[in-house]
């Protein structure tokens, strides 16, 4: 496999905005058009044939990471709900009705690093969508009553989540692993903060004013549409959006110096859950050791790893073991998860994880195994780009983290150049006991 980046930056000035095209010679198979308006709004357009449908993402580069003030955890997600509460031009019922008339699939989600609003619809409705989306991002307006009612729906979402023991684990994990950084809370937020949300009407306006600004938003359009027409509409509807982004005061986490542990209880019953989470590194596709670190999850703990064979297939001590080594704006967690069949085996599973890490820290991985992983990464990416929705969904996070799309080709090019030595160094660098948090969640009543 050979991946090479060749991003041709055709920087030209069109009506005061800059525009770039990528020619599709990196891993990413579609031609990409990027433009930045005077007010800082970035637009990424990816035309692809898709039966007359297109997807429109408004990516706000703000998620629960930006909730740096005490008592405001969960606010980015709550605010996402409020974005459906209408404007003076299009009150909520008018907005809803227009979305219904378009037969659009409209929704939104919030994570640690971003909030994304997305619609899939027939391309003929593009102007209506641009008009509606630009309007609510500039002129959101709601009364205190609906604001408070929506807080009730968020609490309902929290309750729904709490019936899942993994949510209990995630909350405890973040709280333990981070002492100062806002990654220390989940996106839904702490229950105490959710309860007081109805009192934060004024703050919600401040939140909107700080973060819902063009410099902090990327539009991502994918599917069957004409890029020139789209840009004309976007300039028309978003051109007057004023700058004013104020970055959050997110405190970086001090380096962790020793292993942390937690044991939490889930109110229902569950097989014991185990997590071993290492502090990772922020996404930087130019950093070999960081990119090699991203590959460790699959290589050390994936379905073809020795530990998977041993614990899942042969000894059958765990229901599963898997790893999530993800992309984050600031150093996040690279975690190994398992559902252990019997509590007595939890320490045994931790020991096996240690043995695996020790092996990769002291022994070079074979070139063959590394090549298999590279091939897997390539096909895993390519096979999930078959609809506009999937393309946009796949790209939203790296775009939110970096503000652009170049990161995709850069990251896959770096994957391709990683050597066994890089893997060894990454294991030694990132997977050390002092960087990790080990946690378990067990049911209140044992099965």
């Amino acid at each position: 496999m050979k991946i090479f980046i060749q991003i041709i930056l055709i920087v030209c000035i069109i009506g005061g905005s800059s525009m770039a095209n990528t020619d599709g010679k990196g891993i990413f198979p579609y031609r990409t058009h990027v433009e930045v308006l005077d007010n800082g709004l970035t637009i990424i357009m990816i035309p692809m044939s898709s039966g007359g449908l297109m997807t429109y993402y408004s990516i706000v580069r703000t998620g629960s990471r930006d909730e740096y003030e005490a008592g405001k955890t969960g606010f980015a997600h709550f605010f996402e709900h409020m974005m459906f509460r209408g404007t003076k031009n299009y009150p909520a019922n008018v907005y809803d009705r227009m979305v219904i008339e378009m037969g659009a699939n409209a929704n939104a989600y919030t994570t640690d690093d971003l909030t994304a609003y997305h619609l899939s619809f027939a391309s003929e409705d593009i102007e209506t969508v641009v008009a509606l989306e630009s309007d609510r991002f500039q002129h959101l307006s709601y009364e205190e009553g609906p604001f408070q009612t929506e807080a009730g729906a968020v609490y309902g979402e929290y309750r729904k989540n709490r019936t899942n023991p993994w949510e209990v684990m995630t909350e405890a994990l973040r709280r333990t692993a981070f002492k100062t950084h806002t990654y220390g809370h989940t996106t839904i937020g702490f229950e105490a903060d959710i309860k007081v949300m109805p009192t934060l009407y004024e703050y919600s306006k401040e939140f909107f004013s700080r973060y819902y600004r063009p410099e902090n938003v990327v539009l991502l359009l994918v599917g069957d549409f004409d890029t020139e027409n789209a840009m004309t509409l976007i300039r028309k509807y978003y051109g007057g959006w004023e700058r004013g982004y104020r970055p959050p005061d997110v405190q970086q986490e001090a380096p962790q110096t020793k292993e942390r542990r937690f044991n939490d209880i889930y109110d229902g019953r569950t097989l014991p859950l185990l997590v071993v989470a290492y502090k990772g590194r922020r996404l930087d596709p130019g950093d070999r050791t960081m990119v090699a670190g991203l590959m460790l999850g699959d290589l050390l703990f994936g379905e073809t790893s020795d530990i998977y064979r041993k614990l899942v297939l042969n000894e059958q001590k765990v229901q599963f073991i898997s790893a999530g080594f993800g992309l984050n704006r600031d150093p996040g967690l690279w975690s190994i998860y398992s559902m252990v069949k019997e509590s007595k085996d939890i320490q045994y599973v931790i020991d096996e994880i240690d043995r695996t890490v020790e092996h990769f820290a002291t022994t070079l991985v074979s070139q063959t195994d590394l090549d298999k992983l590279k091939r897997r990464l390539k096909y895993s990416f390519l096979m999930n780009l078959d609809t506009p929705n999937k393309v946009a969904g796949r790209l939203a996070r790296p775009i939110a983290i970096t503000g652009g799309i170049d990161v995709v080709n850069e990251l896959y090019a770096m994957y391709d150049s990683i050597t066994p030595e890089d893997i060894q160094l990454a294991t030694q660098t990132w997977l050390t006991p002092q960087r990790r948090t080990i946690g378990t969640v067990t049911g209140r009543q044992q099965p």
Binding site: P29, G51, I100, G103, A153, T270, E303
Partner: protein, 501 residues
């Protein structure tokens, strides 16, 4: 390396029974969707065997057999070797098992087809059925019911409880994964026998899509022809018992919130004359995971009482995870179902009343012209999103074959909906939807206080900590005393530990 998913009808005809002119092509034995620019190949091998074919006392056998085929060794390779080979392709295959069909779904990049194909076919033709896989996968299935379904997903628990309640005593009347007691009875020989009996060459429909060469279909058909012939007929469609009034099943457990599902069997299947009208009604009443849902507007939007409220006229598995309906759960018996996402315990009576009251309103009064027109407009475009991938479109075409629908289902749905009149929709509602005979499943704690409130029809007023418009509060007063005629003899309480035994 520029791909686009253009719809290109490069057609392969195996037999002459063509049902559609463009898009998917359906023959006696195959459903084909050639998409020249799709860089992947999609497979769907649909066997007409499902949990309804489980022998008595061996419930779960179909699911375990299929799981062993796709999640275990073959006679050619150990499961470790299979994973090893699939890994660099980032490809996989897996069975989904419903009541009437089990579908092996797989997808691979065209670059890797030659390596992938034998792995997929060996899973069907040469399953290994080893002791180690048997123990591992059976334990996983048991844990899935005993530990996960009972204790960590109350919404799925309430739905499963409702389905079992409605179809009690019929071959649909237990989880696709079986019962805990019967899973323990299944032996490896049962699995081998079941595979021989049901995974046969005349019991399969082949779905093939993407940028495949014509020779692939020929090869696939020839390979599947090495399976034995069928010797068994599937059971008759289930006949659910009549429901008398409101019948309640309370699954009692310690929990933070109450999960509610209710419904009743309907005699309408996809493709039937009234199906299209009911589809329009249902979309308005409760389009899945869409804020256009009327129930959602009443319970979540206006009152903030939960996360969402939806309705269905066809089974919709995995609703918590899927935005659009998954294909290949085709059945000869369907149900009307309402899904209320978890509510605070103190609101459980009120919310059930609110949902039932809306159902009564629509049955008694029908849809208005405005609601009808808006929904018609909505669905005309929205249904395009039901099946956007090659694999999903193949799945829909397989279902169309099951239901005897000619042509592309999504296109047919659009065209039939565009021709509907308000009168037809309201007639269909009156014929098939009702509110008097209903089965209700609730996962909640403190069952006795719930039952006491239900059987005495106690008022269930609610208060809000936030300002609520006066018209909503006025409506709340009506909802709080809306009569739901419950009788103790129609109420059953089951401890969660006794579910799915």
């Amino acid at each position: 390396m520029k791909y686009s998913a253009a719809k290109v009808c490069t057609m392969i005809i195996v037999t002459a029974t063509i049902l559609s002119a463009c898009g998917t092509q359906t023959t006696d034995r195959a459903v084909l969707l050639a998409v020249e620019d799709d860089p992947t190949i999609s497979f769907r091998l649909c066997f007409y065997v499902g949990s309804q074919c489980d022998p008595e006392g061996k419930e779960g056998l179909a699911a375990l057999t299929a799981t062993m085929m796709s999640g275990g060794a073959t006679t050619v390779r150990s499961y470790e070797e299979i994973l090893e080979e699939l890994y660099p392709m980032a490809a996989s295959y897996g069975f989904s098992v419903d009541k009437e069909m089990s579908v092996l779904t797989g997808r691979v990049h065209i670059d890797n087809l030659e390596e992938y194909y034998p792995l997929l076919l060996d899973a069907v033709l040469r399953p290994g059925f080893t002791d180690a896989d048997f123990n591992r996968l059976k334990t996983n299935m048991i844990n899935g019911i005993e530990k996960s379904l009972r204790y960590s997903d109350d919404e799925e628990l309430a739905k499963a409880a409702l389905y079992n309640f409605i179809y009690e005593g019929t071959p649909y009347g237990y989880l696709n994964a079986g019962r805990l007691s019967s899973l323990n009875n299944i032996t490896l020989d049962d699995v081998r026998d079941f595979h021989r009996t049901w995974f046969t060459r005349d019991n399969v429909v082949v779905g093939l899509g993407g940028s495949y060469e014509p020779s692939l279909l020929k090869r696939l058909m020839e390979d599947l022809h090495t399976l034995p012939e069928s010797a068994t007929e599937p059971p008759s469609p289930p006949t659910p018992v009549d429901i008398n009034g409101l019948e309640l099943l309370v699954v009692e457990k310690q929990c933070d919130a109450t999960a509610i599902s209710f419904g009743f069997p309907i005699q309408v299947l996809r493709g039937d004359e009234d199906f299209w009208a009911l589809a329009l009604f249902n979309s308005w009443f409760g389009e899945h995971r869409n804020s256009s849902s009327h129930l959602y507007q009443i319970i979540r939007e206006a009152r903030g009482m939960n996360y969402g409220d939806y309705s269905y006229i066809e089974i919709f598995p995995n609703g918590g995870r899927r935005q659009m309906p998954a294909p290949n759960n085709a059945r000869r018996q369907q149900l009307f179902e309402v899904w209320i996402r978890p509510v605070q315990h103190e609101h459980r009576h009120f919310v059930l009343r609110a949902a039932m009251r809306e159902l009564k309103n629509i049955v008694d009064n029908g849809m208005t012209e405005e609601q009808f027109n808006l929904t018609k407009k909505f669905l005309h475009k929205y249904v395009l999103q039901y099946a956007t991938t090659t694999s999903d479109r193949l799945g829909y075409a397989i279902d169309s074959k099951f239901y005897g629908i000619r042509g592309d289902y999504i296109e047919l749905l659009r065209s039939r909906i565009s021709k509907l009149t308000l009168e037809q929709v309201n007639d269909a509602i009156r014929r098939h939807i009702q509110y008097e005979n209903m089965k209700i499943a609730m996962v909640t704690q403190d069952a006795e206080s719930l039952i006491e409130a239900f059987v005495t029809n106690a008022p269930s007023p609610v208060t809000y900590s936030t300002p609520i418009p006066s018209e909503i509060l006025a409506e709340d007063e009506e909802i709080a005393v809306f009569p739901l005629p419950f009788y103790r003899e129609n109420i059953r309480v089951v401890a969660v530990d006794d579910m799915f035994e």
